[in-house]
Amino acid sequence: MHPVRELQTHLHRRHFFGRVGVGMAALSTLLSGSSAASAASPAKSSRGLADLPHFKPQARRVIYLFQSGGPSQLDLLDYKPHLQQRFGEEVPQSIYPDERKTTMSNAQAAFATTPSLFAFHQRGESGLWFSELLQHTGQLADELCIVNSMHTPAINHDPAITMLQTGSQIPGRPSAGAWLSYGLGNESSELPAFVAMSSRGSGKTGQPLYDRLWGSGFLPSVHQGVKFRNQGAPVLDIYDPPGVDAQTRRAMLDYVRELNERKFQQMGDPEIQTRIAQYELAGRMQASVPELTDFRQESAAVLQAYGPDVKRQGSYAHNCLMARRLAERGVRFIQLFHQGWDQHNALPNQIRKQCKDTDQATAALLKDLKSRGMLEDTLVIWGGEFGRTVYSQGKLTKQNYGRDHHGNCFSVWLAGGGIQGGMTYGKTDDYSVNVVENGMEVHDLNATMLHLMGIDHERLVFPFQGRDFRLTDVHGRVVEEILRVGNS
């Protein structure tokens, strides 16, 4: 036998036996990692906080279909039949005062009432109203709770989306997914607890996204969302460099471990053991990602259901199917960001494209989850950062109009994971300008989401700068009215 090969065989055998000795405690930290401060109890962070969940969860995971830019509630979910008769009339100041308008449209000469160009239909046994643009989603009417009374103090994208994701308009707080990772830990030993993905519609270019939307703020950064890239390698640096094959990588990892173990014996720093475990996990991630992203395992029927875009990386349909695959593999918080809903002008044309890009895949995801029995314990949320104005931004014609940002009311829906299907919650006035019944603020939505995950939003806290911070700040109400009966 070649002397080097002989040595290799010997080494590999030793590695095999040696591996058992690589502190099991260290291995158990895996993806969750450990901060220097918690090195003495590294296993803790992967399990989450000891006192969580606070009570029995209804949902084990969240799939959050975030529609970035502010989808028009007037053209999708908040049906206002009476507006048709007021076409072109000035929206009364008493309904819409000037100070709530953004500086993009506040200097317009007129604020013409703009009814939706799109027909609405009642769907399902529950008879919820859906715009014709949401043909496919309408099929799931009886699974959905539509909330028409969401509202936010923000009137511009950056503060509004930051508010939705972190509970504060001003950047610096952890995102909702980071809070869940911190509180509940990670179920997967190969994938992160929190994955974010983004896509762009075929309409106009979207509002920019920022790393802070899946960031960890002041929580340990191990809880930040891992952003799956929308082209190329899904996770940064997940693939070996060119000219390095899996066997070579494995050999290198074995030697890295061997040398690190020697260092640990000499220095005694538990951080070295953690690093050994993290390298093992990195190797496992490298092995698991190709399997995760291989859609050839999916049946033709499934692929067809999501639509032709499903095979194109970076499309909304692709991300929807990826979301289901991540959910199956134990990822706790999966968030899609779909750009392109910021329709200041040419709204009818833009929103048609936008819905064509998203409606079928959204419905397919819900059906797919349901057929696998996963909708029961998966909370699905659909919505954007605010709504749009009842008055037209720019010129109103019979066939065309635009809508500016509107924070006083907008529509989201929730499904699965403990949500009462087939219901509408909250009401707006005849113009869809102000909430008149059962308002739901951002903190209420987040409190309800945490509740379904088994968390009392007032008790999931992190001490920072001398204060106990929460996702819901000092606000938030669990909206029990939308929970499935017997679940509150």
Binding site: M104, D158, R212, L236, L259, K263, E271, D468
Partner: protein, 767 residues
């Protein structure tokens, strides 16, 4: 050298001393009681009258005597209520979800029994020079720092570790003072220097290095939230690198800390201000500026001023002043009114709440092309052009106005308007709820200014208050951050919060001693740093036993030397330096090194234009910092995001870090170039491996390590020997051309070997 797995007690120099636990010490209000009251009681019974319940406040003794006084604890109303079982009587009420533990109730009982004494918060009293404690004659005390540290060890049942070996020390020092590894020649020169003063000479040499300022600037840039974009929505460009260069120069020149602070807060207002002093005020302009269409300027102007106040609070005072924006501070003696009086100092710049479409926001000044080598005529402060507003867009209906934009030759500065902008109390902190019934005059918080004869009237006098030798916080906060940088954890762990909810110092006397060393040396930063680095405490070995880890996992008691992973900037710079790629050029516009493909364009409306050539290999401090999408290979290793002031970051250990070091183009190219460099130096295979190892680890590998490294190399060589195509693929990573005279298989195998070494824990760790 350790040859087996067993823990041999004799190896552990800092072994655990056995002894009986000390008797219960008397209750110390600051240490024992105040944290309980602050976190469990003051929310409803504290300084904020808005949320006070039942008219009771427990933060000052004079208002609480009636619930404390009693013959015995059980008769005191306070104890009766915390012991109550009736939910209507029980304190804190269940609805707060913050019940007292039994241990906490016992502390309160003992405290009441001891007469319920209060004490002023330690951090709000001016430091008084402590006398270093006496320690046993045989103890290693190189300077008073060691006496303060050694005095605490017996009560923790710990003993100090011996000094680290010299190779470890030069590597530790070089990382700590320059953010780079020592060269092999520097290591050898130090090992061969038999002079009694060899260590001190080394410290002095490193303190004089121009790499020092580049490295030491990084925590200050994090605190100053320095970046190359405005931070909101489209995250437009700005040009502040001239200010960044000012920081590097100021640190290299060892500008006294008081001047360092005064010039950054109010350099523009100094008599006969120089241009450099004016540029220093960019510190107050590094905050984000919103330029999103549709925004309301008045709203965002308030956010800009708030950010200045909060940054001063965290970076200089070590206080969470921002808590008082919406209501009186719940814990610290700072009212909401006082918050807006601080706000007033920073509210008088001729600025606009919305930024331009790319470019600097007024006020800004043009910087001479000769920067930083200014002639005396050039080095004179200049008046910024007046604010000009123009409609943001022409189309009908858009009411937004934007200011003129400063180009890349400009830098944003502070400037005072002749007619002050009135400052009002903002109810609930909201821009649209000002209390216009009276204009607030600027003032500093009463609790922190008892030593002043009169209230600072403007920003310059505010700065002078900050650096008054009697100021209780400024010097303590500064030396604590130095300690944190060298040891990984500050003497006050909560470097951002010295207030009542912050963690008390592990070594209060040492903290005060260092603070007074700083003040009494006329704020000589390098002198204080040298004291720390000369101490035996700093020079200890960082090897640790399981018992020591159990007794002191975070090394707060300092019975061993510091050991922790490098800062992400130092980590990348180390790999560039080891491979010979690092370009040592100070200052200038930011560089755009390798970044993942479409890093910006995939989620935003901008496109990253990677640099070519030498700009790829500049130190990380010069990397272009886009706030909304910061460089992932820095953020993965816990760099600050630069959105807001940050003075402390956690250090995590994750698989994404492993993926970066193994696969990221920057690190693979560095491994390839390190391999090339060593192959060019020597033909001897052992020498090649040893040289690569020493570039990274400074020390010699042990024979056992060398054997493993050689085996690894041979494994890789077998792989590439018969596969030239793969070898050439690996050797094509990165833009640096390869030396084609080298055998490709050998070079590729050695590239993998060097990559393996770069992935060792030791390679990325200061130890």
């Amino acid at each position: 050298m350790l040859r087996n797995n067993l823990w041999l007690p004799t190896l552990w120099i800092a072994s655990v001393v056995t002894g009986a636990p000390a008797a219960d010490p008397p209750i110390d209000f600051s240490r024992d009681v105040q944290p309980i009251l602050a976190s469990k009681c003051w929310n409803c019974h504290g300084p904020d009258p808005q949320t006070r319940e039942g008219g009771l406040r427990l933060d000052q003794r004079s208002d609480a005597e009636h619930v404390l006084a009693a013959e015995k604890a059980s008769a005191s109303e306070l104890i009766r209520r915390v012991r109550a079982t009736d939910p209507d009587q029980k304190m804190p009420p269940a609805s707060t979800k913050k019940p007292l533990t039994d241990a906490e109730i016992k502390v309160l009982e003992s405290w009441v029994e001891q007469g319920a004494p209060y004490a002023e918060h330690w951090a709000f009293r001016s430091p008084v020079r402590p006398i270093p404690p006496a320690v046993p004659a045989d103890a290693t005390v190189r300077n008073p720092i060691d006496a303060f540290v050694l005095a605490q060890l017996p009560s923790q049942q710990l003993t100090p570790s011996p000094a680290a070996d010299r190779t470890t020390l030069i590597r530790r020092l070089t990382f700590d003072l320059t953010g780079l590894p020592p060269t092999i020649a520097e290591v050898d020169a130090f090992l061969n220097d038999s002079s009694e003063y060899a260590y001190e000479k080394l410290v002095d040499r490193l303190l004089r290095s121009s790499r020092y300022g580049e490295h030491m600037a990084v925590p200050w840039l994090d605190a100053a939230r320095y970046a190359d974009t405005d931070g909101y929505q489209n995250d437009r460009y700005r040009y502040m690198h001239v200010w960044r260069d000012w920081v590097v120069m100021a640190l290299n020149e060892n500008k006294p800390y008081d001047q360092f602070i005064v010039e950054q807060i109010a350099g523009d207002m100094l008599p006969d201000a120089t241009l450099k002093q004016q540029i220093a005020t960019g510190f107050c302009r590094n905050h984000r500026i919103n330029s999103e269409d549709g925004s309301i300027p008045q709203e965002w102007h308030v956010e800009n001023v708030v950010d200045r106040v909060d940054t001063m609070g965290t970076a200089i005072l070590g206080l969470t002043v921002g808590c008082a924006r919406c209501h009186d501070h719940k814990y610290d003696p700072l009212s909401a009114k006082e918050y807006y009086q601080l706000f007033a100092y920073f509210n008088n710049a001729p600025e606009w709440g919305i930024g331009p479409n790319n470019g600097n926001s007024p006020p800004f000044i043009t910087v001479p092309k000769s920067w930083p080598d200014l002639t005396p005529e050039e080095n004179i402060a200049r008046t910024p052009a007046a604010l000009e507003l123009r409609p943001a867009r022409k189309e009908a209906g858009n009411g937004l106005e934007r200011p003129q934009a400063g180009n890349a030759q400009t830098v944003m500065v502070m400037h005072e308007m002749e007619t002050p902008r009135p400052t009002y109390f903002l109810q609930r902190g909201q821009f649209d709820l000002p209390d216009k019934s009276n204009v607030l005059a600027p003032a500093v918080p009463a609790a922190l200014s008892g030593f002043l004869d009169r209230t600072p009237r403007n920003r310059l006098e505010l700065a002078e208050w900050l650096v008054d030798p009697r100021h209780p916080l400024t010097a303590r906060v500064a030396v604590n951050r130095m300690w944190q940088q060298f040891f990984g954890v500050g003497l006050v762990k909560t470097a951002e919060n010295f207030g009542l909810q912050g963690e008390p110092p592990s070594h209060p006397d040492l903290l005060d001693w260092l603070a007074l060393e700083l003040i009494d040396s006329d704020w000589n930063v390098k002198a204080v740093q040298k004291q720390i680095l000369m101490s035996a405490t700093y020079r200890q070995s960082s090897a640790v036993s399981p018992a020591q880890i159990a007794a002191d996992p975070d090394n707060r008691w300092l019975a061993r030397g510091p050991r922790f992973r490098l800062h992400p900037f130092a980590l990348r710079d180390t790999m560039l330096a080891s491979s010979g790629l690092l370009v040592e050029q100070i200052g200038g516009p930011p560089a755009m090194p390798y970044m993942p493909p479409k890093i910006w364009s995939s989620i935003s409306n901008n496109k990253y234009k990677q640099d070519q050539g030498s700009q790829l290999y500049r130190r990380s401090i010069y990397t272009f910092w886009r706030r909304t999408i910061p460089p992932p290979n820095m953020v993965n290793f816990n760099s600050a995001e630069r959105e807001v002031c940050v003075v402390r970051k956690d250090r995590t250990n994750t698989p994404l870090q492993a993926l970066t070091l193994m696969n990221n183009i920057t690190f693979v190219e560095a491994a390839r170039c390190l391999a090339e460099r060593t192959l060019q130096q020597t033909a001897d295979q052992t020498d090649v491996l040893v040289s690569g190892f020493r570039q990274l680890m400074a020390r010699q590998p042990t024979p056992e390590e060398l054997r493993l490294i050689q085996q690894a190399y041979e494994t890789f060589y077998l792989r590439y020997e018969t596969d030239d195509a793969s070898a050439l693929q690996l050797l094509s990573v990165g833009e640096q051309p390869r030396d084609e005279s080298l055998d490709a298989s050998r070079h590729a195998a050695l590239t993998m070997t060097m990559s393996m070494l770069m992935n060792l824990d030791e390679a990325i760790t200061k130890e």
